[in-house]
């Protein structure tokens, strides 16, 4: 290295490097925690950080050597797919995009005559499928960079935009970066209940969670707007945290996207349909609703069903790649089903494989799933999976059940909730009473 280089810290983990803050890009690094430890499989010792609930650590039986070996096995699995990635995979994604566009074109054409009930039904069904394909197998996966390797500028994470209220740029930040890096870490991964729900018993209960079955239902109906609001980090703004300038700029971006999407579905296409104006409008609203319900259900099955683990914040300090892999495997749940289900879910039915290797092409998750399951068994780790109806029911069960506080011996959960509410109300009243000092 030359003299120029010596002035800077160029260590692999960049421990001593100063991180200049790009405008609007929060620095992901703190002085104490070099995030690049995840680039290495090396692990000095296993640390176990207990959670509030006192639930047993499902990885307690693994030694440092075990975790390192596991990381290498998974790296090898990834490498195998990378090496066999080629013409057929490229043809697959092009085919899916082609089919999606043709279904959308055909459905919208049929909906020009939405005034006739059969046309309405066929068109609405087709458009729902097109929107689901666009969001799941096409949009979600391209925005993950799964197809960047093709070097096709038209099918690239940096240029793609999807049929959803949230702009791709915002979603990539909150999903690819935050959720996929901090998966299921309590207090760091906002996907755990989206900041409005409690989906794990280690999340602290507050009375607001009593309404979460209703929030979840509403979020399901308006899911695309829910995601947009989530990506905007509205909650953070309301709490008085977060950058005002960023929020303003991103807010404008979201409004513009929402406007364009709404103008297309609720004004222009209805106008093009002439006498079918209202019918087309209703059809488009229905298709958006169907897409919302479907995507919400699939995504709920990814991390909310029973059997999925969460992790204490302190447990990820200096995490190695192997430990990160462990967290992804235990923190995700699959959905078993037909090929059609896998495609319509954007292969998020292979959530465990997707979380281990978010940048592998989605069409390859199915073939590595049995090997991931075998690795899980060999290392004594739970591989959570089940058919769609069971997983959806399980996730809803968690949302409903966890709307009440955790049970305590000898007390009913409703009782605990009532007591907590009482406490809060009394505190509020006390604070409102004027304080007399003289």
């Amino acid at each position: 290295m030359t003299a120029t280089a010596e002035k800077f810290d160029l260590t692999i983990d960049g421990t001593a490097a100063s991180t200049p803050k790009a405008p609007g890009v929060p620095s992901a690094r703190s002085a104490t925690r070099p995030t690049n430890t995840r680039l290495s499989t090396a692990i000095a010792e296993r640390r176990h950080v207990p959670k509030r609930s006192g639930k047993a650590d499902p990885t307690a039986h693994l030694t440092a050597e075990d975790v390192e070996a596991l990381a290498m096995e998974l790296d090898e699995l990834r490498q195998g797919v990378l090496e066999s990635r080629g013409v057929e995979d490229a043809a697959y994604i092009r085919k899916v995009i082609d089919v999606q566009r043709k279904i959308e074109l055909a459905s919208r054409a049929v909906l020009l005559f939405a005034i006739f009930p059969p046309a309405w039904i066929v068109g609405t069904a087709g458009l729902s499928v097109a929107k689901i394909l666009d969001n799941m197998e096409v949009g979600h996966n391209i925005l993950h960079g799964q197809w960047d390797w093709m070097r096709d500028p038209k099918i690239h994470s940096t240029t793609w935009e999807w049929d959803s209220a949230t702009p791709a740029a915002l979603w990539k930040h909150s999903h690819n970066e935050l959720h996929h890096t901090w998966t299921n870490v309590i207090g760091k991964d906002n996907d755990l209940g989206y900041g409005i729900m409690r989906v794990d018993e280690d999340q602290r209960w507050t009375p607001a969670y009593l309404g979460q079955p209703i929030y979840n239902f509403l979020n399901m109906c308006f899911f695309q707007y829910g995601i947009a609001a989530y990506d905007l980090e509205i909650g953070k703004q309301l709490a008085g945290r977060g950058d005002k300038e960023d929020f303003k700029r991103n807010g404008k971006m979201v409004l513009r996207k929402v406007g364009r999407q709404a103008r297309k579905d609720y004004l222009l296409h209805p106008l093009l349909s002439g006498p079918s104006f209202l019918h087309t409008m209703a059809a488009n609203a229905t298709a958006n609703f169907v897409r919302n319900v479907w995507t919400h259900s699939i995504i709920m099955c990814g991390h909310f069903p029973a059997g999925v683990e969460t992790f204490a914040r302190a447990s990820i300090d200096g995490e190695s790649r192997g430990e990160w892999y462990l967290r992804q495997m235990l923190g995700s749940a699959n959905i078993s089903g037909s090929k059609a289900l896998h495609i319509m879910s954007g292969n998020l039915s292979h959530q465990i494989e997707h979380h281990l290797f978010p940048d592998l092409p989605s069409n390859r998750y199915g073939e590595i799933a049995p090997r991931v399951q075998e690795i899980c068994e060999r290392y004594g780790l739970t591989y959570t999976t089940g058919p769609l109806y069971k997983q959806v029911a399980s996730a809803w069960g968690q949302v409903i059940s966890l709307s009440l506080p955790n049970p305590e011996p000898g007390r009913r959960r409703v009782g605990i909730a009532a007591q907590q509410i009482g406490k809060q109300v009394r505190r509020k009243l006390r604070n409102r009473r004027p304080v007399r000092t003289a």
Partner: protein, 398 residues
Amino acid sequence: MFVLCEQFGARFSRALVRKLAYLIAHSGTMTAVLPLRTTPGSTRSRPSLRTVLRRVAEAVVTPVLPDDYLDLIAPMRAGADLRGRVVSVTPETRDAVTVRIKPGRSWAGHVPGQYIRIGVDVDGVRNWRAYSLTSPVDASDGIISICVKAIPDGKVSNHVVRALQPGTLIHLDQATGDFTLPSPRPARALFVTAGSGVTPVMGMLRNHLDELHDVVVIHSAPTEPDVIFAAELREWAEAGRIRLVERHTDTQGMVGTDALDELVPDWRFRETWACGPTGMLDAFEAAWADAEITDRLHTERFRPVIIAEGEGGTVTFGTQRITVDADGATPILDAGEAAGVLMPSGCRMGICFGCVVPLKEGAVRDLRNGDLTIAAKGDGIRIQTCVSAAAGHCEIDL
């Protein structure tokens, strides 16, 4: 106090009324649905019907573009990204082929001697390479052709020579390059070529041989069967249209500059075009410089400077032109940030693709598995800086 308030209120409401009146008056030209941009300075000018239709089409198909749908039906239409359909692939020698391509309607034509870049998907990955055009400029069917020689370990050239099928849609750039004949044509011309270096010269000769009256062609290839376009060149020589010096370097050795006096005694008085391996061109440039006639020599280098693939290298960042030395174990993202470069970043472990920027030129190694990515000028391959280390000099576009 009250008076002040009232005055303020009155002024405020007057302003409001004025604003409303303005809005109503201008509502005829304002479209709330489709905000139409007009040129600055002429707020009254109406956008053309074409522009309006395009905006409407864009709004109807958002978030994709009308082009995305049109590409499904007519990928070669005018206005589309330039593409071409392979018409035929015919062998010239055992390792060289002529590829005939029907270009899309955006094709702007070429000058003989120029080259095009073609983007071919090899194993699903798009790769761009430059090849000289060999076709007549005024072909009635509008078909263009290039000649591709398979080079050892050449990813694209081997694919084109051995696997490219007629009917394949490939991507094209417009023709470019100044390795062309001047106007008026030179009285005496010399062409020195080696291997596939004959291709741009063939482009010139096929188009302009009638306009050239004194032509010498020195063409080298390893053996007799390796001579590209041998039949056509010999035919011209027999007809007395060119003087051909054909060299088979495996047995006869390379044509050095010292042989020039013997082969072409008047080489100093000829306008010369040379295309071939770097070593040959360097020697020629030196000889012409010695003779102080560099303006009479035109060269075309086929292969760009080979990018050294090693451990680490200097990395230059975008418009800020900040250069750092980075070793082979340091992510380019860390190296850049340490030097104060503002870079996009995200997970720092290779999963989120938030740090992706184009590598304009250079070589990088994936820190996770050692995979090498090499970008030549114009490629702009997008790389993840958080898991890529320099493997030679790199130019990062920011």
